[in-house]
Symmetry: C2
Subunit: 383 residues, 2 copies
């Protein structure tokens, strides 16, 4: 297996881009990444997207993006795994380059949530739940997250306020990120008073769906050093799955796919948890952040929230997370989110994080989780 | 790059499976493939699907299929490239194994068209066209195919009857395939009298959308020989793209993506066209079959239809195509179709084609084309 590195990154601001379509956002991110890498073409384009077909009435996105990104004729296909689409596309891109099938691959995530609003968007988005067992009953992703959160609170005897640290941290970091969607701060105490979406998941808890596109360019680690001054190596990757429907899980409060993908990635990278300088995880909801920290082995079972409460997850903490705002503050351009994580990790490892820089960042972990743990893709990146 | 081989195949009958869902069809094909390979698990599952989100209100199919196929926990994601989804998933599966990331991969295509009928299905299916330039104008895939066919007839001075050989051949082969959707014969002359869908595309011209699932299991060529008596090697692969919207093409009658993907696959396989014993191509419409033969270099420009007229494409001909009925007679379970092609090619190369066997089949080409040539994936398989 050939070693793979990232030699270019690009991203659009995350938000509501009413005036731009999927193709426009994608082209902007792709062009930025090509310019960053100092190249003008690639051999393969892998597109991550979750809701183009249902929200924008557009599938077969891969050739459309290729065309508008100036890459007409390139080998291309789209990858989907709901919120983990970006992580899955990164995994597919790594395999494309590692195999020797191609020398360069552009992994591009794009999502456009603002083509629909209100109930129509909820319906279009709920296709990622189990249609027969969940969606048909009226379940939505926030409603299911609320069930998980309530169970966690009851089982571990934890109050709602225990989760506020995740949102406070995300917004503290996002406020300094010019590409973030919501750059306001959340003050201590405000979390508990926010309007409920699905009790106990509130407006200050769930991440906002958004428009955006992000891209990374991969090539072999061997070539990377000749092309750019600061390539970032992908030194380990892991992936796993769990049931789509929550009701099918033996243990609601343990994300097995997250656990397995993390174990694989760490093992392949030959890295210990203590060596990791920052984690971009999938904080679609604060409960998902807590459970991800636990299943990834960064906190004991039932105690993931403590890392948010004691300051460990801050930029200067022991284990910084959501360093550019995470899904909560940077925003959640669903299928693109995993690629945003990669872009942000590369900025950190280049020392180009600006106001969001984690001191001495050498090794980063990015973790893309689909739904409430149904798919998980974890990658370890290193200077 | 490690060499890759197919060690197991599975398929469901193609048709209208009103009583079965995506998960049921997928589980059937997966279990058949595992049984055929004599193994009970794989490391990776790659799911090909085109219209689950819009027709069945189900995306995030990968973990759902994994669960119902008895593979809970496996690494998994879905791949989409409209009608070429199956070919794209095969390409992703080959890269996964070739890279060394996994030792075994199950590539599974599944589609369920019968969850919608009539205008609702047309709307749900039309998301694969260019939403801004084509679908919004009321264009549908058959209508665009009709424009291509008319242009071909005018430019090359060809009559409608010139295309009938493709449908006659497909149904002659499909009639002998127990898994085919339409097993009736089309008699010479009947093609020209069939009811029009979009003049000149008639009911006997366009392939029927259908339900079905097919699966192939990949491993390294090195391991394959120890596991099964007749592994089939994937000796070359190629992929390319073209504009999504037909209106953006410089030359409407030349499928550049098909041309490039074929050239790449042949070159990598070190195989000449004369060595190929059969071709499974994407005959969504007869015009697409003619144009594919031309762009693939099997017929001069404007003369692809002659191979259908002179008997070359029959089972005993010089270049058999659609040997189990093709999309036209076996049916077109859209996202699964490229995987059906792989299953059928393996049957031929094993000499297990039964009444559909091509004599002395040693090398097969399978070609998965998305839309009207917007994406193309070509693989060369060998005994």
């Amino acid at each position: 297996m050939r070693d793979v590195a990232i030699i270019g990154i690009g991203q659009t601001p995350v938000g509501e881009h009413w005036q731009l379509g999927l193709r426009d956002l994608a082209a902007d991110a792709a062009q930025a990444a090509l310019q960053d890498a100092g190249i003008d073409s690639v051999e393969s384009l892998i597109v991550a997207n979750a809701f183009g077909a249902t929200i924008s009435s557009q599938s077969h996105l891969a050739p459309l993006v290729a065309d508008f990104a100036g890459l007409r004729g390139v080998e291309t296909f789209a990858v989907e795994a709901a919120e983990a689409s970006g992580g899955a596309a990164l995994r597919a891109g790594v395999m494309a380059v590692a195999s020797g099938a191609v020398e360069t691959a552009l992994v591009l995530g794009v999502e456009k949530a603002s083509d629909m609003i209100g109930a129509a968007r909820v319906r279009a988005r709920t296709v990622s739940l189990d249609a027969d067992d969940e969606a048909v009953q009226g379940a939505t992703l926030p409603a299911l997250a609320a069930l998980l959160m309530r169970r966690y609170m009851v089982e571990y005897g934890v109050e709602l306020a225990a989760f506020e640290g995740f949102s406070i941290n995300a917004h503290a970091n996002g406020a300094k990120n010019p590409n973030a969607m919501y750059r306001n701060l959340i003050k201590p105490g405000a979390f508990g008073k926010a309007p409920m979406i699905a009790d106990p998941v509130s407006l200050f808890d769930g991440a906002p769906d958004a428009d955006g596109a992000a891209a990374v360019i991969l090539t072999t680690a061997e070539r990377a050093g000749d092309l750019v001054p600061q390539p970032v190596r992908i030194i380990g990757g892991g992936a796993s799955s769990d049931t789509l429907a929550l009701a099918e899980r033996d243990d609601l409060l343990w994300l097995r796919a997250v656990e397995r993908s993390t174990e694989q990635a760490l093992q392949r990278a030959a890295v210990a948890r203590e060596q990791i300088n920052l984690v971009e995880l999938t904080d679609t909801f604060t409960i998902l952040a807590a459970l991800s920290l636990e299943a990834s082995g960064f906190a004991p079972r039932g105690e993931g929230w403590r890392l948010a409460q004691d300051g460990s997850i801050g930029l200067a903490g022991r284990l910084p997370i959501s360093t550019f705002g995470g899904l909560k503050s940077r925003g959640n351009p669903v299928g693109a989110t995993g690629v945003y994580q990669a872009v942000e990790a590369v900025l950190q490892l280049r020392g180009a994080g600006g106001a969001n820089q984690v001191p001495n960042a050498q090794i980063a972990m990015i973790q893309s989780v689909g739904g409430l743990g149904s798919t998980a893709f974890t990658h370890i990146l290193s200077t």
